[in-house]
Symmetry: C2
């Protein structure tokens, strides 16, 4: 699908379709987000995506809390007519003081651009879409790199991401019946359990007082925290465990050292960010990029896209631990929004904003 | 003025104020855009702005036309309570095939972010604001670096930028009675003349068939084209002429070689773009950055902000040609939008968009 504004030469209006979170969620319910994410990952592995350097503006607010804006442009599928073509941007801002005020830490808007005129054509609430992208990536990694069979999953961190992951687990892994959970704030874990119950999701929620305890309770561990300090050692993880290291700073270096296999979404994105543990280990040569080896040192097998295109074999955990470390690619948000927009256009969702107003 | 979202903890809504072009224009009519631009230029000269590297996504459309999206983040005034604090972004996209379809080449939206939560707080039509910024910069440069007295002005290029410049000339330079104009498309020059007449702007419009002829017709030359090929030589310009080189590729290198004085908005921005003539000349050492000299070679005097803060003397044209070469700074858009928003908030303009919709 190619995004094109409806031409209206007679009146020379310029419109932008606005999709609030409710509209995004409604439209997303009609698509298969894991299939969309896998399409984009395959396109990315084939070099048919663009991920320009992101714009980054940091500041401190009056409480001294870290605030930032990130503008992430991306395109999918330009060179291949079999893949949907989409150009867009995710604008995602965050303040570390937001959760204490009852707000999600991060929020923003995502755009699609008209392929022909380059005009912004769609603007959508970004946080739900971003969480859906993240969760869908986890589901895909579990499908291809997780244990063959599992019925229990551990979620460390019980915020917004945990909810999206729970919804997707119910949809894509119907065998799962138990969620082991931990949050630094026990009341957040309780609120999550109540939300699961109220939403009639098919899970028993088991709260754990310590993260390590939760990690040891199942063979599928998904980290969804905001920590910048590692806390999980290899000893906390059972043999045969798959770790979706979504929050990127939960695993201590030793877990990477001893991993049975390690997969990423994009080696360069990870290398470019030495503030995250795997980027630092890559920079230090303690973990190696695909294609290089050194005895006793872990080499990244490849990307999930490489697995999906069969360029790299999938290795599921048996006696060791398999780690997936996705840095997060805006191109997945853009690809998902393109599908959400197609659904919105078909079903008549969203609000048309007239950019010019009475000024013609 | 500091941008802050209205807290609504009880309902947990998240709002974004949408300002279409008509609203932006109405609000802008209530402010002094040249004063705002000069405030921001002084802040920039004092190092109280941030201009991160911009995000840039280029592609070709189905006609093979060049398309691009630029995401330009910027902040003003963080470190000084006497200057309005604002954080924001301009998202400005363009396709070279747009004008042939009756659309402005470039368009997009600009944002302000809430200082405390980092959430996008205001989204506004960007093209008018961008043109206003550009025109206001030209007015400021004319005020400080132009001829002491002038009653005629030359506009080369008769598109949207020419209209904004004409409106601002009428407001800030009431002595001007004649506009000499040229456009590659004579019908665009005629349409501009009709627009001036219909809008009762106090100008006689004199169309010229050749750009060089128009340039020679007055001592204030403003280039507002989309050319990427220089066409003005020193011989086309009268002694005592001020050139606002807004479109950045109209002057041939010899004009810079022989300039009486040369001013810019930001030396690094210009140096970083060797696709524009002055960036290329700087890279080649044919024009020198402030603080360096070589006999027979032009040195950039400084920025307009340096002139406004009296760090660098203002030199008006007498026997030679003074050139202003503004690359264009998103931080001016952000500063202008902050003032426009204050006016919108005071007068109740704009539409509140609920980002979450029914999803709470």
């Amino acid at each position: 699908m190619t995004v094109q504004a409806v031409p209206e030469p007679a009146t020379r209006t310029e419109h932008l379709l606005f999709l609030d979170r409710a509209a995004v969620r409604t439209c997303a319910a009609g698509i298969d987000p894991v299939a969309v994410v896998e399409d984009v990952l395959r396109a990315h592995a084939a070099g048919r995506t663009t991920l320009p350097a992101e714009g980054y503006l940091p500041w401190s607010n009056s409480q001294g809390a870290y605030c930032r804006s990130i503008a992430m442009l991306g395109s999918v599928g330009d060179a291949d007519p079999t893949v949907p073509t989409a150009y867009g941007m995710k604008l995602i801002n965050a303040a570390t003081s937001n959760p204490a005020q009852g707000m999600d830490r991060a929020g923003g808007v995502s755009f699609l651009f008209d392929t022909e005129t380059a005009r912004p054509a769609v603007v959508a609430e970004a946080a739900y879409l971003s969480a859906l992208r993240t969760g869908a990536y986890t589901m895909s990694s579990l499908r291809h790199l997780g244990p063959e069979h599992f019925q229990e999953v551990t979620l460390i961190g019980c915020g917004a991401q945990a909810r999206t992951h729970a919804e997707l687990l119910a949809r894509y892994f119907p065998d799962v019946h138990t969620l082991h959970v931990h949050d630094l704030l026990p009341e957040r874990a309780s609120a999550f359990a109540s939300w699961v119950e109220a939403g009639e999701l098919p899970f028993t929620v088991v709260p754990h007082g310590r993260a390590a305890e939760a990690a040891a309770a199942s063979t599928v561990v998904i980290t969804l925290t905001i920590t910048d300090t590692g806390y999980l050692t290899p000893d906390h993880l059972r043999p045969g465990t798959f770790v979706a290291h979504v929050s990127l700073d939960d695993l201590l270096p030793e877990v990477f050292d001893r991993a049975q296999a390690l997969y990423v979404d994009d080696v360069e994105l990870i290398r470019d960010n030495p503030r995250r543990v795997l980027g630092r280990l890559l920079g230090e040569g303690r973990v190696l990029a695909p294609g290089t080896t050194k005895p006793g040192t872990t080499t990244i097998r490849g990307t999930l896209g490489d697995v999906l295109t069969a360029a790299v074999p999938a290795e599921r955990p048996d006696t060791g631990v398999v780690v997936s470390n996705p840095f997060g690619m805006a191109v997945l948000d853009v690809g998902l929004l393109a599908r959400v927009y197609a659904q919105a256009a078909a079903d008549g969702h969203g609000t048309r904003l007239d950019l010019l107003g009475a000024d013609r």
